[in-house]
């Protein structure tokens, strides 16, 4: 199963999908939001496993431009992380 998924993602990638040193300015490389769509993990302050992926080693929230989370989900995510911090889960 895992192999199939990988091959699929490779087909989808375009020439701009990877960060290129000689990339033209102004062209965004597109990555779909990992938290929306089908089978996406639930954003919740109790779901510590998911939240840990979106904080840095020192515990700060990663910006959406790095994780490519959509704007709507990023708002939910930051709220969930802050709630989890309050309960000393993160």
């Amino acid at each position: 199963m895992k192999r199939k998924k990988k091959s699929n993602s490779k087909r989808k990638t375009t020439s701009y999908s990877k960060l290129n040193l000689f990339q033209k300015p102004g062209i965004k490389f597109f990555r779909p939001c990992p938290l929306s769509g089908k089978n996406a993990p639930v954003i919740d302050y109790k779901n510590v496993k998911v939240l840990k992926k979106y904080i840095s080693e020192s515990g700060r929230i990663l910006p959406a431009r790095i994780t490519s989370v959509s704007e709507k989900k990023q708002k939910k995510l930051s709220k969930a992380i802050k709630n989890a911090r309050l309960l000393a889960l993160l």
Binding site: K49, L87, A88
Partner: protein, 111 residues
């Protein structure tokens, strides 16, 4: 009626009878003040991510209930006075998710 999720952290050095009293006390408060307890989850003793009032561990309790604004007011009012508690959090949710318990598996692995 609104749906609420409530989590509270108590000090670690409590006996089991004290824990039961704690649960009964706050469930009573909810039930008396126009609320209805749907589910209570014991997350058990967990390590805190950081020290709270010089405690490294805490006893977690999670209550899912329905109620009105007054229910939450009374509940938090009683908790503010309680010295056993370290912290609490109330979150309003649109719909209750009664099936998944994110902290159940960890307890099974420990013993």
């Amino acid at each position: 009626m609104n749906c609420y999720e409530h989590t509270l952290i108590a000090k670690q050095d409590l006996s089991e009878s004290q824990n039961k009293k704690l649960i009964d006390k706050y469930e009573d408060i909810i039930n008396k003040n126009l609320g209805k307890v749907l589910k209570t989850e014991k997350w058990g003793l967990r390590n805190l991510a950081y020290k709270i009032k010089n405690n490294r561990k805490g006893f977690y309790l999670h209550i899912k209930f329905e109620g009105v604004g007054k229910t939450v007011e009374e509940l938090e009012g009683a908790e503010n006075i309680d010295e056993i508690l370290l912290r609490f959090l109330t979150v309003k949710v649109k719909k209750h998710d009664l099936d998944t318990n994110y902290f159940e598996k960890k307890d099974d692995y420990k013993p």
